[in-house]
Symmetry: C2
Subunit: 151 residues, 2 copies
DNA sequence: ACACCGTGTTTCAAATTTGAACAACAGAGT
DNA sequence: ACTCTGTTGTTCAAATTTGAAACACGGTGT
């Protein structure tokens, strides 16, 4: 068993910063959305994705992939959003197994109301903290990280 | 009500990369630790913190702050780790209310066994994907993000 | 000594998340 | 048509997470 390649000082600093920042940012945004709009971050992202999607609808699996969540977790959240009238299920014409989640007018309205506060929170927690240069580096680096992990 | 400062193209790209990468990395590491060591990421981080701490022990609140988790959540996880024999509780001499979580020899051994695979996974998911330059930018940027959110 | 406010931890119920098992179907190859 | 293999979405039980409330105590000011 060969000695593992431990993280050097710089790598460890980057890893700790990554861990802390991601946890703190997520926690902050979760709280902001819950307080201001009564939505979880996952639910908010569902609405964002559906709102931006063609026809305001996406297949369950496609949506789960985009949100990086489990399929069963999405089933639960869509049920919650359906109860709240922000989303509804519609079966897929071309595939009997398939289910579309589609955003309702009320869902779009909820997004309109929640978005400004959320964007402000994202700015305050992350975007406005970084210089344009730092932001570009992070976009490129983390973009590559995400790309590779989707294989 | 003034128009919110929406994210421009670059900012949005950075935000999406951040969201995707953090979710994917967390999910990957969670899975690796569970498969290889039977630990959740939170549990692993508890062991890391205690192992590095002076005397192998930390107060509950201090530990919760470092892990960026709720105090009740930590109570639960420490109980789990205690059952597994990796950690034990010890009351604080100077403050009757206080509780120390202390790592056991078995806990240190578990860490020794789990660390190599975990480091390898961290490298594969994040560190080795980035150039030293990108890593430095991310460490600095996200370090600042974390620092600000701890206030 | 005493009242008061703040801190440290746990308990509790409710919400969420997960993977495995399941049921129903699609699609390719024969 | 038919068998196989892989997908799709849901259900289920178990594990985890959360905030609010409860509890017990510390520390300060009077």
């Amino acid at each position: 068993m060969t000695e593992p390649r431990w993280l050097d000082e710089h790598e460890k600093a980057a890893w700790i910063a990554f861990l802390s920042a991601t946890n703190l940012v997520n926690r902050r945004l979760e709280q902001q959305l819950k307080d201001d709009a009564g939505l979880s971050h996952t639910q908010y992202e569902v609405l964002v994705q559906l709102n931006a999607a063609d026809g305001g609808a996406l297949r369950m699996t496609e949506l789960a992939d985009r949100l990086v969540t489990s399929k069963s977790g999405l089933t639960y959240q869509i049920t919650q959003l359906e109860r709240a009238g922000l989303v509804f299920r519609r079966s897929c014409p071309s595939d009997v197994r398939g289910v579309f989640a589609e955003i309702t007018d009320q869902g779009r309205e909820m997004l309109r109301l929640a978005a400004p506060g959320h964007v402000e929170a994202v700015r305050h927690a992350l975007i406005d903290v970084l210089s344009p240069d730092q932001l570009a580096h992070i976009a490129e680096g983390l973009g590559e990280v995400a790309r590779r992990l989707r294989s």
